[in-house]
């Protein structure tokens, strides 16, 4: 039987506010345990939550960016369960009335048509603390620094049909929240986390199959692997005559498998009800419009502009706008380079990303800044150096030897454009290679490359290639 995969994602993005969602304590990552937990975060008797307006603004920003409705009235609710890292015995979240409802996002898997994924809702909530099971000799340590950190939980429709689509969607959201400057996107520190609801159904069937919820998917790779594992598992269960049970499963990245955490019967009854300590969140039209004005150029808009303004291909524009930092890098470099934005695109996507990849660096950590790269490209465009020499210049800049002009100057890499000088070299080469000349003239066109190579060798690559080509054609004719 042919199966269709149905995936929905719940993405938890940690909002980049300075203080917590209901208290004034800092949200900075990495402080000593329990040094960033105030009376409110500790859930001391008598304390009350006060909503952080900045978290609300960020949620609204996200909603507007995905074309969703920012609710004029949303309600905070208590989600009740006991756990040592949940100080109050309930998490303040939003349940029936979330702040953002009904958006969408277009995704594209390489080589496939673009698809629109629905966003059901996004709601504000507080994060829990952390339970630490190591280093406490059989006991558990609790660190409440993270307790009360604002989260925006973004819930998609079950619109994805493959693990690859799920990853594409997750990457798109990851990029978007950074574009919006509402989340630092740091997956290692847990700022961006994902759960996946996965089910399968016979192709053509309308009704959804029974789903399992996969937890602990904290990298793009894990999302893909966990979903693929889970799909295979569900197919095996059904084809083996069994039934998929609704349950929560934990992904174990070491063993690359999912295993059951709790079944539907064991699921918690969270006893949600409106939190009487917080008034309903009311946002009027004027507020929403004011937030709309702060929206930056969004990835899809930027992509379209890169195509029209810089003449980039769809694919190039897609790669370059995948992150705001990369897009900004490209744009700065392209503006300094002046002509030929396509060349800038090739350099950024090729040499730069290649070098970063090799050293496992992010764009923000690049030793060659956009200004440096742009300066170098400018020297290609004004014929000071050739593209080939530029590779050498780039490497020097990467190693911290200064900007392009300094490198060119110090290493004497300036391109030879004096046609007299080039001609002189060509004449010598022709004179020294009579055999090749004869063969070439007899019709062995391939030997043209040999002559070019000789000229370049003689000039240590500094001769202007276009000039060399033109002069050689003349002389060899």
């Amino acid at each position: 039987m042919e199966w269709e995969i149905v995936i929905g994602l719940e993405i938890h993005t940690q909002l980049a506010t300075k203080s917590k969602i209901f208290s004034g304590a800092s949200t900075a990552y990495g402080a000593a345990p329990n040094t960033q937990a105030c009376a409110v975060d500790l859930g001391l008797p008598g304390v009350l939550p006060v909503l952080n307006r900045e978290a609300v603004r960020m949620a609204a920003k996200f909603g507007l960016a995905v074309g969703a409705r920012v609710s004029p009235r949303s309600v905070f609710a208590r989600k009740n369960y006991f756990y040592p890292d949940l100080p109050k015995g309930y998490q303040i979240s939003q349940f029936e009335l979330p702040v953002v409802e009904g958006g969408q996002l277009e995704i594209q898997v390489e080589g496939e048509a673009a698809r629109v994924i629905g966003i059901t809702r996004a709601h504000l909530e507080e994060d829990a603390g952390k339970s630490l099971h190591e280093d406490f000799h059989g006991s558990t340590g609790v660190d409440l620094n993270r307790a009360g950190t604002p989260l925006l939980e973004i819930v998609s429709e079950p619109d994805m049909r493959s693990a690859k689509e799920a990853v594409a969607y997750m990457k798109k959201i990851h990029s978007l929240v950074q574009y919006l400057e509402i989340c630092d996107g740091n997956m290692q520190e847990g700022s961006f986390r994902c759960d996946a609801n996965v089910s399968i159904r016979p192709k053509g069937q309308e009704a959804l199959g029974t789903r399992s919820e996969l937890k602990n998917l904290n990298s793009f790779r894990f999302v893909e692997r966990a979903i693929n594992f889970e799909v295979e598992r569900q197919i095996d269960v059904i084809e083996g005559g069994g039934k998929v049970v609704q349950e929560t499963r934990l992904y174990d990245s070491d063993k690359d498998e999912t295993r059951s955490m709790r079944s539907k019967e064991e699921a918690f009854d969270y006893r949600y009800f409106p939190d009487p300590d917080l008034l309903p969140l009311e946002l009027d039209e004027a507020y929403i419009e004011a937030v709309r004005k702060t929206l930056p150029e969004l990835p899809d808009e930027k992509k379209a502009r890169f195509i029209s303004e810089f003449g980039l291909a769809e694919y190039e524009a897609g790669v370059l706008t995948a992150s705001r930092e990369l897009a900004d890098y490209f744009e700065v470099a392209a503006r300094i380079a002046g002509d030929d934005a396509k060349r800038t695109a090739n350099w950024v996507m090729g040499d730069l990303l290649g070098a970063l990849n090799k050293e496992g660096k992010e764009i923000g950590e690049s030793p060659v800044s956009a200004e440096l790269l742009g300066g170098m490209l400018q020297r290609i465009n004004d014929n000071t150096i050739s593209g080939k020499i530029a590779k050498q210049v780039f490497e020097c800049m990467w190693n911290g030897e200064g900007d392009a002009d300094t490198v060119i100057e110090q290493k004497g890499l300036k391109q030879v454009t004096d046609s007299g000088a080039i001609e002189k070299i060509i004449d010598e080469i022709i004179a020294n290679n009579p055999q090749q000349l004869e063969q070439y003239r007899a019709g062995k066109d391939k030997l043209f490359g040999f002559f070019v190579g000789q000229v370049m060798k003689e000039t240590e690559g500094k001769a202007n290639p276009a000039q060399v080509n033109a002069l050689l054609k003349q002389k060899l004719a």
Partner: protein, 484 residues
Amino acid sequence: MHTKTIAQLSAALRSGEVSSVELTSLFLDRIKQHNPALNCFISITEEQALAAAAAADRCLKAGDAAPLTGVPIAHKDIFCTQGVKTTCASKMLDNFIAPYESTCTARIAEAGAVMLGKTNMDEFAMGSSNETSYYGAVKNPWDQARVPGGSSGGSVSAVAARLAPAATGTDTGGSIRQPAALCGLTGLKPTYGRVSRFGMIAFASSLDQAGPITYSAEDAALLMNLMAGFDERDSTSVEREVPDYSAGLDNGIEGLKIGLPKEYFDEGLDDNVARVIDAAIKEYEALGAIIKEISLPNTGLAVPTYYVVAPAECSTNLSRFDGVRFGHRCEDPEDLFDLYTRSRGEGFGAEVKRRIMIGTYVLSAGYYDAYYLKAQKIRRLISDDFRAAFETVDVIMGPTTPTTAFKLGEKADDPVTMYLSDIYTIAVNMAGLPAASIPAGFVDGLPVGLQLIGNYFEESHLLNMAHKYQQVTDWHLQMPKEFQ
């Protein structure tokens, strides 16, 4: 000196007739003398009190005293007071020293009032007789075989016995007004949102409100001037100008319309109490008010609705008492589940457990709509009753309680009968309205309280009505003989 109102004490302090240290020592001595019998204090903060009194005396001498500088006061042990044990009368918090100060007590302290100690109460404010306290029952100074009412039983007992000239209380379903009535005092529950709840240990967050317990309306006004006001740390406190509550006390009340809800005078009401209330109403008529019968048709639904809403909220408010970070923790827990169940099982008393169980039940999947959601709808109906009534009358009056103080142990084993002792007070909390109870007479030597219910944020109006009555009567100045 111990029989004076805080308005009189304030004057005596300013004139130099008495110092705050003298006054504070006097009340501390009275507490030491009578507390063993009455059990109205959980903590007596003698050292801090004397230090605060000395500081107040310096202010008084320097001439920069606020109205209550140097005046002693007792706080219900539901308010977090920094560095002082704050128990909520529960074993759960028997070891809890609050690391921060509630807004309410901070405002009173900033005005120079001197805290004498923390008063006994029903455990987590759940009770109407002060019999659910981990620290034992409180006695009614008018008859020590009887309850003082609850949950602010320690506060009223202390003030009635003149162990403190005034006290704070909190009122979730009548916990200021009912004990004030049973002990012959003036108690005011402000409009929900008028006084900050920050630092007040929550029972039912949408109903809880702190207020003053005093001899007179004039004293209640002085305390309200300190307690009322917006607090950015309490999202449910209201950003609204605070009037000078003392300013309008003497306004005339001629022509004001008083509504008497017929549902507050039906068969549940003790005949003798009814006679006292009728006499008080006559007094208002003599002062020029117009009496009108009204109806609050959903009155009968208030108690059952309250016992869905309040337990629902308290069941989750009390989840934080889990033995992990503070409060009672069981000995040698075997695992997490054992830690939770034993710590909570040992730390909470029976009434608290009962309400946590009711609340957990009514919020559970499958029951939520039938109980919690329905209760919210009825709550709206109850509010609408009052809204309609206030279109035709200025103030609503009736008895605060159906009977005078009952005997210790009389209702302790019958929760439903106990719950019904708040039948006239609970609807006010459901609607979030302000209401006061003032002394209106006696039945067989036991005080009777008259309840005054006002429209939203009309505390001034209630205090004015109460003060005018207290100008022509002296019920509020009566004292239990033993404690004169």
